[in-house]
Symmetry: C2
Subunit: 624 residues, 2 copies
């Protein structure tokens, strides 16, 4: 039976629900792992949604008018993939032989290797925040009436990020966002905190500004009415549907029992389950198609290439200020560029963009997890998000950044106030782990400009960068080093001092590059010539230039960084040179090794041994 033109009736939805349960059992048993019971609890919800309410052109997942479906409870992947079978885009054979297998696209938790999946989920509490980003795009940028449906687990409501999401959904009046919470009462290791206290969930969701509908998640009429009501948009609030369900619903041997989380049914149990559920089937039923609207007019650039801000060599300009200038410049020429901030836009200078393009700026207040998730969601709709806060506070969102890379999301993160350079505010405000954190993200790009000209060039490059890219900016104002128009390719570096008699190589970025230059001057006064490298591209790294310098200076290098010694500039240099098979190195690695306190920038740099004096002393020791 195939029905693509008309809306299925509830009786058909019931058949589909049965099939989703059977297929969830079959797929996970065939794979030998997976979460059938967590799928069975939500099968009725998905059957009614997909056959009757979810507007999606399954033949064209790129259709801009399509609704979005995000499984925030990503472990219910058997259910999602069974849905894909039920709408006819995944075959029964693929479901039975591809699920959780090597090299296959039906991964243990959904990722966008599948064209119908927007974002990777599986780290709980992220799908709803991601959905907020997609819904922001729908309401404010695309201005297309697609809806964003997010299936949430009840366990994940313990994550603060879910409440950040509801808070922002309400604040931004995202009536196009519908969270369906599968309240099946049982978590991984036992009952959830609130079990079936739907009233408690309801009070919380309402207090955060959502419209709440409570239903029996196995009553198809109730489900249908709730989904209909959610899309009627009677007000400007996001909708939270709280569905009371039974984990393992439909198979009496596991239904509502503890001890069956994340366990496939053994073959014989699976056979009994399939019998009890009514047997295998291969219905194909599609729901409503979206009404295709003319695409929003945000695709074409407003003008030619951006006119980047210019700065005079020698002028003191903070790279964070240059970030704000550059973002505003590129934003003027590309209407798909959007910006977000964690309520510190007057420190990161994203406020410049906000003032120029308020309709493309989203204030996330102090909710860094939601900020990164919103960037991911905006990238789903092919916007070009730049998200900024103090670099130290990006650590708040590390799980979201990690998952963004698995989502293949193209997002740009900007962290200001790096390192001890900030001075008096003390260690809580100092990013000293951010380079390690961002370098370790798969496929990431890590950039660290030392002057305003470089910063603006890198911002322009980030517009087109795939994956997670990161720009580290500095609080203080330092002299502009480069002429306007200088090129800063990703993966490059700049040799600022060099000569035939170089005895040592000094490597820095950000504030330490300026210290390296001062050290080189001091060394030159002593008759020691030093090569100086601006390592603005930390990942990818310019191995060739580093290797040349090492060869020229007989292995003597000093790396100075305003970061802990692990995973930052020094590690990047060491990793690159060792991978290149460099000859013997005599590397002096200056980094922030002690827990800092307050003080002036100069005091901080001196105390940690990363200022010009220490760099020069290390160079002298290497060359003596």
């Amino acid at each position: 039976m195939t029905s693509t033109a008309t809306i299925a009736d509830l009786s058909t939805a019931r058949d589909v629900a049965r099939q989703l349960r059977v297929d969830s059992v079959r797929a996970s048993t065939s794979a030998g792992s997976g979460h059938p019971t967590s799928s069975m609890s939500a099968a009725d919800l998905l059957a009614v949604l997909v056959t009757r309410h979810f507007k999606y052109d399954w033949d064209d997942p790129a259709n801009d008018a399509n609704d979005h479906l995000i499984f925030s409870k990503g472990h219910a992947s058997p259910l999602l993939y069974s849905v894909f079978k039920a709408v006819g885009v995944v075959s029964d054979e693929e479901l039975m032989t591809g699920y959780r297998r090597f090299g296959q696209r039906l991964e243990g938790h959904p990722t966008p290797v599948l064209p119908w999946v927007d974002v990777a989920t599986g780290s709980l509490g992220q799908g709803l925040p991601d959905g907020v980003g997609v819904a922001l795009a729908g309401r404010y940028l695309d201005e297309v009436p697609y809806r964003v449906w997010v299936l949430c687990g009840d366990s994940e409501m313990a994550e603060g990020s879910m409440w950040e999401a509801l808070d922002k959904a309400a604040y931004y009046r995202l009536s196009n966002l519908i969270a369906i919470v599968d309240v099946n009462r049982l978590g991984q290791s036992g009952p959830t905190e609130l079990q079936w206290d739907l009233d408690a969930y309801a009070r919380r969701a309402e207090s955060f500004g959502a419209r709440v509908i409570m239903i029996d998640g196995h009553d198809l009429d109730e489900i249908d009415q709730a989904l209909q009501s959610a899309t009627d948009r009677t007000d400007d609030r996001p909708t939270v549907i709280l569905a009371r369900t039974l984990k393992g619903r439909g198979f009496s041997e596991v239904e509502n029992l503890e001890g069956w989380h994340g366990k496939p049914l053994p073959k014989e149990m699976a056979d009994r389950a399939i019998r009890e559920l009514g047997g295998e089937s291969s219905l194909t039923v599609r729901g409503p198609r979206p009404v295709t609207e003319p695409p929003a007019n945000r695709g074409a650039p407003l003008g030619g290439p951006p006119e980047l801000p210019t700065y005079a060599v020698g002028d003191k300009v903070a790279t964070r200020k240059a970030y704000g200038d550059a973002l505003t410049a590129v934003g003027g020429s590309n209407p798909r560029i959007v910006a977000l901030d964690g309520e510190v836009g007057n420190s990161t200078f994203s406020e410049e963009f906000a003032k120029a393009f308020g309709d493309r700026y989203f204030e996330m207040y102090i909710a860094e997890q939601q900020m990164v998730a919103a960037a991911v969601g905006l990238s789903v709709r092919r916007y070009i998000p730049f998200a900024s806060t103090f670099a130290a506070f990006l650590s708040r969102a590390y799980d979201f950044i990690r998952m963004a890379s698995i989502s293949r999301a193209d997002i740009r993160l900007v962290g200001s106030h790096a390192g001890v350079e900030i001075g008096a505010d003390g260690p809580s405000q100092m990013a000293l782990e951010d380079l390690a954190m961002l370098r370790a993200v798969q496929g990431s790009t890590v950039l660290y400009p030392s002057d305003a000209v470089c910063a603006t060039a890198l911002v322009r490059s980030m517009v087109d960068l795939p994956g997670v890219s990161y720009l580290r900016t500095t609080r203080g104002a330092y002299p502009v080093l480069y002429e306007a128009g200088e090129s800063f390719p990703i993966g490059g570096s700049k040799v600022l001092r060099s000569g035939p008699s170089d005895a040592v190589t000094l490597i820095g970025a950000g504030v330490t590059l300026h210290q390296c230059l001062a050290a080189a001057n001091a060394l030159a006064a002593d008759g020691i010539q030093a090569r100086v490298i601006d390592l603005y591209s930390v990942k990818p790294i310019d191995t060739a230039t580093l290797s040349d310098a090492v060869a020229a200076t007989e292995g003597r290098i000093v790396v100075a960084e305003d970061h802990h010694p692990e995973g930052g500039l020094g590690s990047a240099v060491a990793d690159a040179l060792l991978a290149a098979g460099s000859p013997a190195l005599r590397m002096s690695h200056l980094a922030v090794r002690e827990l800092p306190g307050s003080g002036s920038t100069a005091e901080q740099l001196a105390a940690q041994g990363i200022d010009a004096d220490h760099i020069a002393a290390s160079a002298r020791a290497l060359t003596s």
Copy 2:
């Protein structure tokens, strides 16, 4: 005027409040930075609290009966330090010459270098979660009736972690926890999301299970009654006092105005402010003392040294299982050991401890930020917390881990399911950044056992480790390698194969160590002798053994790790050898470089090039 024996009257509190404002202005102006206006809004709250309700023996901060005071809005440090002056433990001279100065203890944001400060704050949204940990200790472990007072900002209520905290405070019925929210309406860059909508805050806090009291935060009578009511403990809920306040209260030129966040008053404005506030003073007023009770009887070990579990060489045991076994063993001999988990105790095996010592186990459900914060809070009360979840999900709490190191907290983190080894679940569940993340934490210890005997020994060592320590455990069961009783010092390593004709060194930990052993066998069959090093202590690292091996094998080393290439084993080895000034290295670094999907363990290891075959091939290439 000094009054240490009696409770000050409200008129005295009023004088103190005035002084706190004046001193907040003076301190920040003298330092040239800081947050006077954020201090002035809460001065009345603190004056009434400290003079009339906060039970604290200022002459003995170590008194176990003392109340606790946590400034979750750590940027209000001028207020906190002015309080310290008002109770006579910090001199006016220190306040005026020490605040935010290099080498001084009155840092820009409070840290425990001060004996009256429990935890470092300044990353917003962490003080209240930390306070939950302290309150858990009070209610369930110390059984001492101290109260935990937390001054919160209104901006930080946008952090999901604050709601994780209230959720857990209500779940654990922490009536000893009182959050005072200074609702001054203005954030850093503009009005807060909810501004003065105290009703909205109240609905949220009540829905999360708190008792809410709304007051005018500048009406001393209302404040006094609220604080009294909060400590009457009429029920089993935490209390949230919502105080409507004015930022910059008391100085007409800044009061309730935007643009004054985080800015000291210029000298002339400060002079006018001090005049308007009534002039300088140096009152010393102390509030009530705690009633000292006999210490809870949890100090002395229950018995002798723990009997660690034993395993037979060759038996297959997962290190995560060994963690559960060992934690239960050490828990039996030391009643100060407590455990927490993020609702995956049946995966991390913390459930073994929970079953044995339910009164010392705290289920944090899926709230990793709160889990780490609770560990920090428990450590404030000198408990020995072990907090476990999937290693991947510790990334959720990175900002909390970073701040724990600044808090000088002794906490133990345990992450299971490391790397692609987990197989079918896919990348969302695979920790591939955790070693980089934890190594980059100041003062951290990073451990990665390859067998059950090592895991148990490391757990025992972690009991006494200072700072943030981390144990990475593996999902699968692998052969036990060591005899019971083998010693595994922190900072050590094990040479499992070595001989006079070693041609290459193979270095691994966890699953890759087993692959290294298999590779060594294969190489031996080819006549290539390989040294094999078990790098169970990743930080600190056994540089001496590594250097010896490099020398013995003429610089030829293969490092294989189930982690991204940045910041993990390979970086640790490279950093150590370069710091030691090793001779030329020929290092082959095998790591997880591609985004993984699902598959079996063997398929995953092979696909990423970190299995025995690839290790052997790299070794052959180095030795050919």
